[in-house]
Symmetry: C2
Subunit: 138 residues, 2 copies
């Protein structure tokens, strides 16, 4: 059951729709949700997560704006097959900004270049393994 992948913490202080967005993004990036897969209807998921349907709808619609999902009235919400809307250069810049954040934080936390590189390699491999395994076959 798809919706069991998602779980919201009502007391974390992190907005509910943001928690859901992150979980959907992670599920897609990790191959748990694949292009064409259908997400639960907003009302259904709202009941299971005990939130207002609008909260689910907001997460879905923002992910649609970002090019990750596609919603159609009356049909449902699906994982998009196509590539993102942004151009190659824009995507590069966006990822580069996130990388620079990592570097600033790592240096301020006094991680050595070696520690940082090892951590990077480790996480990169963890994700590549997930993708190669084709996780999310149900």
């Amino acid at each position: 059951m798809v919706s069991s992948w998602f779980h919201l913490n009502h007391r974390s202080g992190v907005p509910l729709y943001l928690q859901l967005k992150e979980q959907v993004k992670t599920a897609v990036a990790g191959g748990v949700l694949k292009p064409g897969d259908r997400l639960p209807p907003v009302r259904e998921l709202a009941i299971q997560l005990t939130v207002n349907p609008n909260t689910i709808a907001r997460a879905y619609s923002e992910l649609e704006r970002d090019g990750l999902l596609s919603s159609e009235q009356g049909r449902g919400t699906f994982v998009r097959a196509a590539e993102p809307l942004l151009g190659a250069e824009e995507r590069r810049i966006q990822v580069q900004g996130l990388i620079d954040k990592v570097l600033v934080e790592a240096f301020n936390l006094r991680l050595t270049a070696k520690e940082l590189s090892e951590l990077w390699e480790q996480r990169l491999q963890a994700w590549e393994v997930r993708l190669q395994r084709g996780e999310g076959e149900d």
Copy 2:
């Protein structure tokens, strides 16, 4: 003049104290501000950036809470020499979380593993060069 390193965009939507925090963190990580260096007094910087002194004070005090700065009433605010307050494992986890964010975003934006690795190497080198150069000698 130290304060000329900072510049706030009043119309960006990003909170002013957050903009300043980021710039201080980047300056410290990049060696532009070094341990022991004094930051401008809250009032002085407030005038130059045309904001309320409290806004500067908030940025400073949050950075103190994070272990990057050290403020003393009557004396001023300085870049801390010592390592951060967090333990080795906590720091690792924090950086790992940021790395995972990069990976999720990169895969969702359909960057290849090669593109991503190259981008990482490029940014890492850019920062290492900055640090080796000992930038910020004035």
